[in-house]
């Protein structure tokens, strides 16, 4: 590869991202409108300045559509599951039931917006916690905008070791870390330490949003306990088993928060009446009607229990996983290269889709079984089934364009070498100061690709090389990369749009991004500064 890495090329590589951010944050454009513009700029810079040819651009676009389709199947099935619950008025039952179990409203918001999302992230990932969590929070009376923001923050910590460690495995692979080696374990330690920091911030931020200092004071013991269980538990378990080091603490925290609702400090009704995130006139999205009297809380949660059981069985029982994982199909792509010699190798089976072990299958089965279960109990009325499917499709379609646009954009940036120029440019100019920005590069990767795993694949090798060039501990830099990538999942437009879709506020992605970015970017900088102080001075 001989792409010139200079200021002009760096600006050209950064242009699509900066335009996307300006359109969404400054001008409040929705992702559906902003993503195609970002894509158009990426195509122009790719063709003109990075010497890509039409075959390369077309191939990367097709890869993007394929990846986007896989994401969109999750979106549709998550929305389908939500629509099943909404049609049966299960969210009203969940709201009422959870309020009884957790009479403290702050604890309820923490449980439904942070702890439950952590649990979902531990097993499914791919944006499911955001897509599922947003309507659940709306169901307990949280304003739609905040019902998107809180799950985005709540799920982020689980992005590296969640989905049974998929993103972590990709980091280890791209950086050449051998499982169980000293470097592997030390990197896991750095990563989990940084993630723990973010995990606690997510909890405290939720309290702050709910009711500023008063809520922070009330929520302090609960957040500290949850952060110790989740972040601390992950750190300890990462030294034993990286596959389950997020899932196990996430499960434990879910149980503990329900028990916490029985201790003296949290077992009485408590709320902040003028909380800015709560909608006090909320009557539920199911037409404001009453919850079915004969539906218990456990029954309302049936699709979610099934989702958890199915995911666990299929992903953790190795023989079942091996059999179901045999059905897999991907697309083949030819080798392409730019005029600068930046090569995208030919692939036999690009990003293979394994339908029977994919999160969308668990969501689909859970939704259908839930639908049958609710219908048999008479909770889904005449014409309800048709309504569920029509609503789920018409809710999915608008987000489809944005997801496709964003994923194609990241693919073209990657395929034309723009991503590499971005990262190399930063490292070349800054020297050891780069360490401060190492987590930000991870965040940038997830922002662009929508996935901590993709960020690690994209930048894992680069971070390792840069660390060696700068003569700093690669384990610490890799830890910062993946932790930054996890934090970045909170600002990833393709994840935000999952939430705005299920929360029925499509088009307000800019508002969500504006609020979250104010938390995520300073956090990654703080992590970077800590890292700099520890390894680069």
């Amino acid at each position: 590869m001989n792409i010139p890495i200079n200021l002009f090329m760096w600006i050209m590589a950064f242009l699509p991202i900066i335009v996307l951010l300006i359109l969404m944050i400054k001008f409040n454009w929705g992702a559906t409108e902003a993503a195609p513009i970002g894509l158009l700029i990426t195509i122009v810079t790719g063709l003109v300045f990075f010497k890509a040819n039409i075959r390369l651009i077309a191939a990367e676009s097709a890869k993007g559509v394929w990846n986007a389709l896989i994401i969109l199947i999750i979106v549709w099935t998550a929305i389908l599951m939500y629509q099943v619950g909404d049609e049966a008025k299960a969210f009203l039952v969940i709201r009422n039931g959870m309020r009884k179990l957790l009479p403290n409203e702050l604890l309820l918001v923490l449980a439904m917006g942070w702890i439950f999302e952590s649990f979902l992230q531990g097993i499914t990932g791919f944006g499911v916690p955001v897509a599922v969590g947003a309507p659940l929070l709306i169901g307990i009376g949280v304003k739609p905008l905040w019902a998107v923001i809180i799950p985005l923050l709540g799920q982020a910590w689980g992005n590296t070791f969640g989905t049974l460690g998929a993103a972590w495995d990709s980091l280890a692979m791209s950086a050449g870390l051998t499982a169980g080696s000293k470097e592997y374990l030390v990197t896991a330690l750095w990563t989990t330490a940084f993630i723990w920091f973010w995990n606690a911030i997510g909890g405290f931020a939720t309290c702050w949003f709910y009711g500023k200092g008063k809520a922070l004071k009330k929520g302090l013991p609960a957040v500290v306990l949850m952060a110790v269980i989740q972040g601390g538990g992950e750190l300890l378990l990462s030294q034993v088993n990286t596959t389950i080091c997020c899932f196990v603490p996430a499960c434990v925290s879910l149980i503990v928060i329900l028990l916490l609702g029985r201790v003296k400090m949290y077992n009485e009704e408590w709320s902040i009446e003028d909380s800015p995130i709560m909608n006090r006139e909320f009557e539920g999205q199911s037409g404001g009607s009453e919850a079915p009297a004969d539906m218990s809380l456990v029954q309302a949660f049936v699709p979610y229990f099934l989702l958890s059981a199915l995911t666990l069985i299929v992903l953790l029982v190795k023989p079942i996983n091996a059999v179901l994982g045999k059905v897999s199909f991907g697309l083949s792509f030819p080798e392409t290269s730019t005029g600068y010699g930046y090569v995208n190798a030919a692939v036999e089976s690009f990003s293979p889709f394994t339908p029977f072990t994919h999160a969308s299958m668990f969501l689909f089965i859970s939704a259908i079984v839930g639908l049958i279960y609710y219908k048999n109990h008479g909770w889904i009325k005449e014409g309800g089934v048709k309504r569920i499917f029509v609503k789920s499709i018409s809710m999915t379609m608008p987000s489809g364009i944005a997801v496709i646009g964003l994923v194609i954009m990241s693919k073209i940036m990657d395929g034309t070498g723009q991503t590499v120029v971005l990262a190399n440019g930063i490292a070349n100019v800054l020297g050891k100061v780069y360490v401060i920005l190492a987590p930000f590069v991870g965040l940038l990767g997830t922002f662009m690709t929508g996935s901590n795993m993709s960020s690690n694949i994209l930048f894992g090798g680069f971070q390792m090389t840069t660390a060696n060039l700068l003569n700093v501990d690669p384990s610490a830099i890799l830890g910062a990369q993946s932790a930054g990538g996890a934090i970045g999942s909170a600002v990833s437009p393709s994840k935000i749009i999952l939430g705005t879709t299920t929360a029925s506020i499509l088009g307000r992605e800019g508002e969500v991004l504006k609020r979250i970015i104010a938390l995520t970017v300073p956090t990654t900088i703080v992590i970077g500064v800590i890292l700099f102080a520890l390894v680069a001075i």
Partner: protein
């Protein structure tokens, strides 16, 4: 109240754009499979045009209505 046809709504328009993108996707795959740059170009142009439906509709066509 008069009920607006689904395909005349923004969601309907985006659904059509999505279908067009899918068609373009298969055209690109056919072009890549046969190593034909012209077919790739046709598919790619269709895809970009469909992608631009939303910003054009929202910021160019709609304000004139």
């Amino acid at each position: 109240m008069e009920k607006k046809s689904f395909f005349k709504t923004k969601e309907g328009g985006l659904t059509i754009a999505f279908i067009v993108i899918m068609v373009a996707f298969f055209i690109i795959l056919a072009g890549l499979g046969s190593a034909n740059d012209t077919i790739c170009l046709i598919g790619f142009v269709i895809m970009v045009a469909a992608m631009l439906y939303s910003p054009v509709k929202t910021f160019i066509i709609k304000p004139k209505n």
